[in-house]
């Protein structure tokens, strides 16, 4: 009992000391700390539709906002950087692989690593009193190293103007005055850049196989088609050093032979092939494959219906932008020597879908008319002829829709 009373006296004494016993210096420090906590640089990353005045599309973007002190104590200007790292499976204080940018405006000079920088006129006590919307980033702009759900670390730094960032890291941490981070979970369906590197060889093979199967859809594989595939494969070895190029050439040579036989005998499961390709190829690689297929299809100066159908099908399953695909196909349609009547471009090729009303269809056809009509004065007689045919088809479709 007595022991308990002693402990109580000690505790009360400690509390009273804490209340009345702090020195002035300590009190000033605490007060300053409280203020500093209030104005400390903070970062907030969330999902938001940008306000109208930003002039951005009305879709959810990643909103990056900053608040607090960022003024440079050394200069009357401050350079700020926003970098993003993939911190999935890493601690908050660590920095994972950098995120790449799909658009050059948001990347470091000379690389594709995502970085945004800006320089502000500041004094040492410049701060954002309220949350300031630094940037709205469309999600599609961010390219993580791997697909799926990724935990992204957004890092905002305020530095001297001479500071540079290379591959997402500051060249000299001594020039960084303030720093704030926040996290955001991003889920992507497209494969990441590290996966793209890992899958490169496999995707090249799958692309060749796809092109071979497409060429075989009309019942035969001719030498011209095969040459386009061979040349494409050869182009992949150009940037390799001699030994690796030789090795790769050997691989392609035997792979093309094997695939040729399989495609000719229709022994390839297209659905399995397409599914594997879509799983492993990046968007860029998907476009390359489509481009190769279009070039193979038109190598005999004719775009056969079966081939076009095959490519349309693949393009749809890959999830690439169908408008871009249409433009790619238009280039081929403009160049090939013949389009049989049975193979005339369908409404779909002009970007017309069943859910559109006739007015909308008529408008699209008119735009297509402007495009093709301007080609009727092409120097190349083949292209001229094709353009005239396309104009006729468009006019026919317009009649059909009572435009």
């Amino acid at each position: 009992m007595e022991g308990g009373i002693v402990w109580l006296i000690i505790l009360v004494g400690w509390v009273l000391f804490n209340i009345f016993g702090k020195s002035d210096e300590e009190k000033t420090y605490e007060a300053r700390k409280e203020i500093f906590d209030k104005i400390r640089l903070q970062l907030s990353v969330s999902e938001e539709v940008p306000p109208k005045e930003r002039g951005l599309p009305n879709v959810k973007c990643i909103a990056v906002k900053v608040k607090g002190l960022f003024g440079n104590p050394n200069e009357n200007k401050t350079k700020v950087f926003l970098t993003i790292h993939d911190n999935t499976d890493l601690g908050d204080d660590e920095f994972g692989l950098p995120i790449l940018s799909a658009h050059p405006s948001f990347s470091e000079p000379g690389s594709r690593v995502f970085t945004i920088s800006a320089v502000y006129d500041t004094s040492p006590d410049t701060y954002f009193p309220d949350w300031f919307s630094f940037i709205y980033i469309p999600k599609e702009l961010l390219l993580p190293p791997k697909k799926g759900r990724r935990r992204l670390k957004f890092n905002f730094t305020a530095c001297d103007t001479a500071t540079n960032v290379t591959h997402g890291a500051h060249d000299d941490l001594g020039t960084v005055h303030y720093n704030a981070s926040d996290f955001y979970n991003l889920t992507t369906k497209e494969i990441g850049y590290m996966e793209e590197i890992a899958n490169k060889s496999k995707v090249e093979d799958l692309t060749i196989k796809l092109a071979m199967c497409m060429a075989a859809t009309d019942g035969h594989l001719d030498q011209k088609e095969l040459n386009v595939i061979k040349n494409w494969a050869k182009s992949l070895t150009l940037e390799l050093d001699e030994d690796k190029a030789e090795e790769k050439k050997k691989h392609f040579s035997s792979f093309i032979k094997k695939t040729y036989t399989e495609a000719k005998n229709k022994k390839v499961s297209i659905s399995k092939l397409v599914s594997e390709f879509n799983d492993k190829a990046s968007k860029g690689q998907k476009y390359l494959a489509i481009e190769l297929m279009l070039n193979v299809a038109s190598s005999d100066d004719k775009l056969a219906a079966e081939e076009e159908k095959f490519i349309n099908k693949i393009a749809k399953t890959t999830g690439i932008d169908l408008k871009t695909f249409k433009e790619m196909k238009n280039k081929i349609v403009a160049k090939v020597g013949s389009l049989d009547l049975s193979e005339k471009p369908s409404e779909e090729s002009f970007g017309i879908s069943d859910d559109m009303d006739d007015k909308e269809k008529c408008k699209i056809l008119r735009k297509e008319y402007t495009k093709w009509n301007s080609q009727t004065t092409q120097k190349d007689p083949k292209r001229k002829k094709r353009a005239k045919e396309m104009v006729k088809i468009i006019a026919g479709l317009r009649k059909q829709y009572n435009c």
């Binding site: 008119r366 402007t370 009509n373 317009r398």
Partner: protein, 509 residues
């Protein structure tokens, strides 16, 4: 004092006009035939050339020696071969005449309808490509004419706005359907001040195409009656087709006796059959009308008047289409075959006031014309395509279509890679706002060597200056070194001009 004239150099017919003493445009007649419009046909005889109706007559006996529709070839690098009787790609081996040489013979003939002509304004379709404009200027130079160009519908609206007793205040649509080309221009007119808003067109749509469809109908019907086809290249049948077309503008049905390999046959063609045979062209007309309104950001109800130009506007279905789309009948009141030449004469007067008498000066003093650029003028650049995830070459527009002339626009670009050696300076032209390089025309292309040690991101400037006469000056400049590549797109003459001129040593009849 040398005279100034306006010339409508048409696909099927041409006309020349000058300002009379009071400043009113007057079409000049062929002193021999008295015709106010001259057929754009050229017959190449042994030592002489015949232009006009007589040339067409000669085509019955010597079809290969007569050239028709040369205007449609102005933008092509072709030669008319007298031995084969057709235009062929110029591979340097074919003997014959270029489109500009042939056009120059038509111009020389027209020039002789009056005396002392040195300066002229020649009309061209609004959507005439750069190559075709160049060839037209070359033709003028070959016929010793100092000329300026004006777009056909623009000339027509100048004529309409200067007609006594007509007040065209407001927005007007000029519907110009001639023998070979079709143009629509929307302009804002206030008294005699004309501001062009936009022009659209089709270089291969006109009366000649309708004649061809009638020929096809004749062929089909003859075969049905006689079991054998007629030769659609027989020039005399072209004349019959043209006659039927003209008659169908006033009659519901026309009967003609057609001579063919199995003897004569009486063939009936109804207006309905004719209209159905040209429905693809009619659809094109509708599309271009819609496009013109959309480009001008106007509705049909915003257009005060539709003005007709060109002989093919006499076809009833054409007027019906206009009525349907514009919800108002077009103005008929001028000679549609002469409106363009008259407008060109007025423009020639404005441009050469020092050559006018005081009454003429007074007549054109209030006339003002502001035109627009009829194409997208651009350059080729390399950009990273975020969708395809790689660098691609694209067309970047520098001067947008419908920009008021004169104009000067600068766009800033960057050097692509460190130590880049050169930049290809390309000037492109397109009717639509195209990014795709496959769908544009490159009209000039010269390299510019960059300074040693050029760095990625170094600024590079491109400036296009376009004047009212269709001349464009393009400057491609590396900002740091001030190195420049200047491309002058004033339509000029070919290097072999002397040779071209010498080979035209003919008497023209």
């Amino acid at each position: 004092m040398s005279k100034v004239v306006g010339i409508d150099l048409g696909t099927t017919f041409s006309a020349i006009a000058e300002l009379d003493d009071l400043g009113n445009p007057e079409v000049l007649s062929d002193p021999e035939s008295g015709n106010r419009i001259t057929r754009s046909a050229v017959y190449f005889g042994k030592d002489k050339v015949i232009v006009g109706e007589k040339a067409r007559d000669a085509s019955i006996t010597s079809p290969k020696k007569v050239v028709f529709k040369v205007k449609r070839e102005m933008e092509n690098e072709v030669i008319y071969s007298l031995s084969s009787g057709e235009f062929k790609e110029d591979d340097g081996k074919i003997k014959g005449y270029t489109p500009s040489q042939i056009s120059s013979l038509i111009l020389s003939k027209l020039k002789d309808y009056t005396s002392g002509v040195k300066k002229a304004v020649i009309t061209v379709p609004a959507l005439f490509a750069e190559r075709a404009r160049s060839a037209t200027l070359e033709a003028a130079k070959l016929s010793k004419l100092d000329i300026e160009l004006i777009n056909e519908p623009t000339a027509a609206v100048l004529h309409y706005s200067n007609l006594p007793g007509i007040s065209l205040n407001g927005r007007v649509l000029i519907f110009d359907l001639g023998g070979g080309t079709f143009d629509i221009t929307i302009a804002s007119v206030k008294g005699k001040k004309v501001d062009v808003i936009t022009s659209v067109g089709d270089k291969e749509l006109g009366g000649e195409d309708f004649d061809k469809e009638i020929l096809n109908l004749l062929k089909k019907k003859y075969k049905k009656l006689k079991g054998k086809s007629i030769d659609v290249n027989d020039r005399s049948l072209f004349d019959v087709a043209e006659k039927i077309k003209k008659l169908l503008s006033t009659k519901e049905k026309v009967s003609e006796i057609i001579e063919g390999p199995k003897g004569p046959a009486k063939i009936d063609i109804s207006r309905k059959e004719f209209e159905s045979s040209i429905d693809t062209y009619l659809e094109k007309i509708k599309m271009l009308m819609e496009e013109a309104l959309e480009r001008a950001e106007l509705k049909a109800s915003n257009i005060n008047q539709t003005l007709l130009v060109g002989g093919s506007t006499r076809i009833p279905i054409v007027t019906e289409i206009i009525k349907k789309i514009m919800k108002k009948a077009p103005i008929k009141g001028v000679n549609v075959d002469e409106a363009v030449a008259c407008g060109a004469a007025i423009y020639a007067g404005i441009q050469n006031k020092d050559k006018l008498n005081s009454a003429q000066k007074k007549a054109v003093s209030k006339v003002e014309l502001n035109d627009v650029c009829n194409f997208y003028m651009g350059t080729l650049i390399i950009v990273r395509d975020p969708e395809k995830d790689r660098y691609v070459e694209v067309n970047d527009v520098v001067i947008p279509r419908d920009t008021k002339l004169p104009c000067s626009i600068t766009k800033n670009y960057q050097v692509l890679v460190d130590d880049q050696k050169k930049i290809d300076c390309s000037v492109t032209q397109s009717e639509g706002e195209e990014r795709d390089v496959e769908f544009i025309n490159i009209i000039a292309n010269e390299p510019l060597e960059l300074r040693k040690g050029a760095k990625q991101g170094d600024p590079f400037k491109v400036t296009y200056s376009y004047d009212l006469n269709g001349s464009m000056h393009c400057i491609f400049e590396e900002v740091k070194s001030k190195k420049k590549q200047e491309l002058n797109l004033k339509p000029g003459t070919s290097k072999d001009f002397k040779e071209l001129r010498e080979s035209l040593d003919f008497d023209i009849e």
